[in-house]
C-alpha cells in the first residue's frame, strides 16, 4: 500500500531521517517505537507530506507521491492523520468538525455528510455531543472525535502520532479501544506510541527507530521477546518496567 525508499529529511544541518526503507502492506498495523527525537513523528509526517522529504521516494498505491504533479490533497484524503494534541477546530461544533472536509471537498452533500457523521459518532458513543464544541469535551472524547473526523473521508490508511500521550491515564483506554476496533475492521494503520500493550496486542509489525533509521523491525513477539540490537534492549528495558 505504501512503499518508502531511502527517505531522508534534514532540518538545516540536522539529519533527522537518514535513509528509511519500508513497505506497509494492505491491512497491516505498524507500530513505531523509539526514543524521543529519533524521528518517529517526522517519518509519519513525511508519509502524508506534512513534511517535505529532503530526498527519497514514497509510493502510495503505486503512485509516487514525492514526484512532480501529484495532487497531494487527493492523496491526503485517503490517509487520515490523528495528532497527539487532537487539533480539533475549536470554532466549529463537533458536527461541523466532522462534515467540514467531506462537504468542502465535494465528496458528499451536507445531508449525506451529516448522516455519515452521526453513524460515526454512534460508533464512538458520542452522538449526543454532535452540537457541543471541542472545548466542552474531555481529552479522550476529543481524540475519539479526531479519529472519526479522519474516518469521515473514508481513508484507506490511518496515521497516528502518539494519540494517547496527551491524555490523562484514565482516558487512554477509551481511545485505544476505538483504535483496536478500527484495526479489527481491517484498516491499514501506522501508529507511533509508547503504549507497549497496544503494540503487542494490535501490531503486526513493530519498528524500532533510533537516530533517524529503522534500527530493528519484526513481529511484536520478536521485538519484545527477543530484541537483537543493544539499543532496542536498552530502550525496552526503560519503557517496560
Amino acid at each position: 500500500m505504501i512503499s518508502v525508499r531511502n527517505l531522508c529529511k534534514d532540518f538545516g544541518a540536522h539529519k533527522v531521517l537518514r535513509g528509511i526503507n519500508y513497505e506497509i502492506g494492505q491491512g497491516e498495523k505498524i507500530v513505531i517505537i523509539g526514543p524521543s527525537g529519533s524521528g518517529k513523528s517526522t517519518f509519519l509526517r513525511c508519509l502524508n507530506l506534512l513534511e517535505t522529504p529532503t530526498s527519497g521516494q514514497i509510493f502510495f498505491e503505486g503512485t509516487e507521491i514525492t514526484g512532480k504533479g501529484v495532487d497531494i490533497n487527493k492523496i491526503r484524503q485517503q490517509m487520515g492523520m490523528v495528532f497527539q494534541h487532537f487539533n480539533l477546530f475549536p470554532h466549529l461544533s463537533i458536527m461541523d468538525n466532522l462534515i467540514l472536509a467531506p462537504v468542502e471537498l465535494k465528496l458528499m452533500t451536507k445531508e449525506e455528510a451529516k448522516e455519515e457523521a452521526l453513524r460515526l459518532l454512534d460508533i464512538v458513543g458520542l452522538r449526543e455531543k454532535a452540537d457541543s464544541y471541542p472545548g466542552q469535551l474531555s481529552g479522550g472524547q476529543k481524540q475519539r472525535i479526531a479519529i472519526v473526523r479522519s474516518l469521515a473521508l473514508k481513508p484507506k490508511m490511518m496515521l497516528f502520532d502518539e494519540p494517547t500521550s496527551a491524555l490523562d491515564p484514565e482516558m487512554v483506554g477509551e481511545v485505544l479501544e476505538v483504535m483496536k476496533n478500527l484495526a479489527e475492521d481491517g484498516m491499514t494503520m501506522a501508529v507511533v506510541t509508547h503504549e507497549m500493550g497496544f503494540a503487542k496486542e494490535v501490531g503486526t509489525k513493530v519498528l524500532f527507530m533510533d537516530e533517524g533509521v529503522i534500527l530493528e523491525e519484526g513481529t511484536p513477539e520478536e521485538i519484545f521477546g527477543d530484541p537483537k540490537q543493544d539499543r532496542t534492549k536498552e530502550f525496552l528495558s526503560k519503557v517496560l518496567i
Binding site: F89, H91, E104, G135
Partner: protein, 243 residues
C-alpha cells in the same frame, strides 16, 4: 453668575441655533462616520490580503518557493513589505496631502480622497493586526486542515481566518477608534467633517470655546460607545472560549 449664564446662552444661540448652524455639526458627524466606515472596510480588505501574503510567504519557507507560484508570492511579499514600510513610516497628514494635491489632484471629490487615503493607511495597521492574529493560531490547526486534504486557501478561509479574526476583534475595534479620531485632519483638504464643522462655526461667530467643546464631546461620546461595544465583545468572546 446670571450674567455669565446669560452670556453662555447667548453664545450657544449664536453658535448653533441662528441660521441653523447646528447643521455644520450634524452633517459633520455623518461625514466623519461615513469616512471612518468606508476606510475601515477598505482597510480590512487590504489588511487581510496583505496579512495572508506575508504569513504564507513566511510559512512556506524560502527553499520551497520555486516555480511560478513561488515567484508570485515573493513579488507580492516584496510589494507588501514596501507598502507597510512606507505607510507606517510617514505621517497620515502627509499621505492625505499627497493623495489630494498629487495623486488625485484632478479630482474634486474630497470624500473619495479622504476615504482612499485613510483606507490605504489603516490597511497597513490592520495587516499587522491580522498577521498577529493568524500567527496566534496553533500550527496544528493548519496541519489538521491540510491532513484532511483541504488546500492551503480553503484551510485559511474555513479554519484559520475565522479564529484569527475572532482573536483580534478587540484590536480591530481599537483601530476603528483611532481611525475615527484621525479623520479630524480631513478639514485640511476642505472635507466638511465634524472638526471642520466646529471650525466653520468658530470662523463665523468668533466663539472658539463652545463649538470646540461640542465637537470634542461628540467624538468622546462616539468613542465611549465603541469602547462599550468592545467590552461587550470581549466578554462574549471570553465566554465562547470556555464553551
Amino acid at each position: 453668575m446670571t450674567e455669565w449664564w446669560n452670556d453662555l446662552v447667548a453664545k450657544f444661540v449664536l453658535d448653533f441655533v441662528e441660521k441653523e448652524r447646528w447643521r455644520y455639526i450634524t452633517n459633520g458627524v455623518v461625514v466623519t462616520l461615513q469616512v471612518t466606515a468606508a476606510s475601515l472596510l477598505m482597510g480590512l480588505v487590504i489588511g487581510i490580503l496583505v496579512a495572508i501574503v506575508r504569513t504564507s510567504h513566511d510559512q512556506i519557507g524560502k527553499k520551497n518557493l520555486h516555480g511560478f507560484s513561488g515567484f508570485l508570492i515573493r513579488v507580492l511579499n516584496a510589494i507588501c513589505s514596501i507598502y507597510l514600510t512606507v505607510i507606517r513610516g510617514t505621517p497620515m497628514m502627509v499621505q492625505l496631502m499627497i493623495m489630494y494635491f498629487v495623486i488625485l489632484a484632478s479630482s474634486t471629490n474630497k470624500f473619495l480622497v479622504a476615504f482612499l487615503s485613510f483606507g490605504i493607511n489603516s490597511g497597513a495597521y490592520i495587516a499587522e493586526i491580522m498577521r498577529s492574529g493568524i500567527m496566534s493560531i496553533d500550527k496544528g490547526q493548519m496541519e489538521a486542515g491540510r491532513s484532511l486534504g483541504l488546500g492551503y486557501a480553503k484551510t485559511m478561509q474555513k479554519i484559520i481566518m475565522p479564529q484569527a479574526i475572532k482573536n483580534v476583534l478587540p484590536a480591530l475595534v481599537n483601530e476603528m477608534i483611532t481611525l475615527l479620531k484621525e479623520t479630524s485632519i480631513c478639514g485640511t483638504i476642505g472635507l466638511n467633517e465634524l472638526t471642520r464643522g466646529g471650525d466653520i462655526i468658530r470662523g463665523v461667530t468668533y466663539d472658539a470655546m463652545l463649538p470646540l467643546l461640542v465637537v470634542a464631546a461628540i467624538y468622546l461620546a462616539i468613542v465611549m460607545f465603541f469602547t462599550w461595544i468592545m467590552g461587550l465583545l470581549e466578554r462574549r468572546l471570553r465566554e465562547s472560549d470556555i464553551r
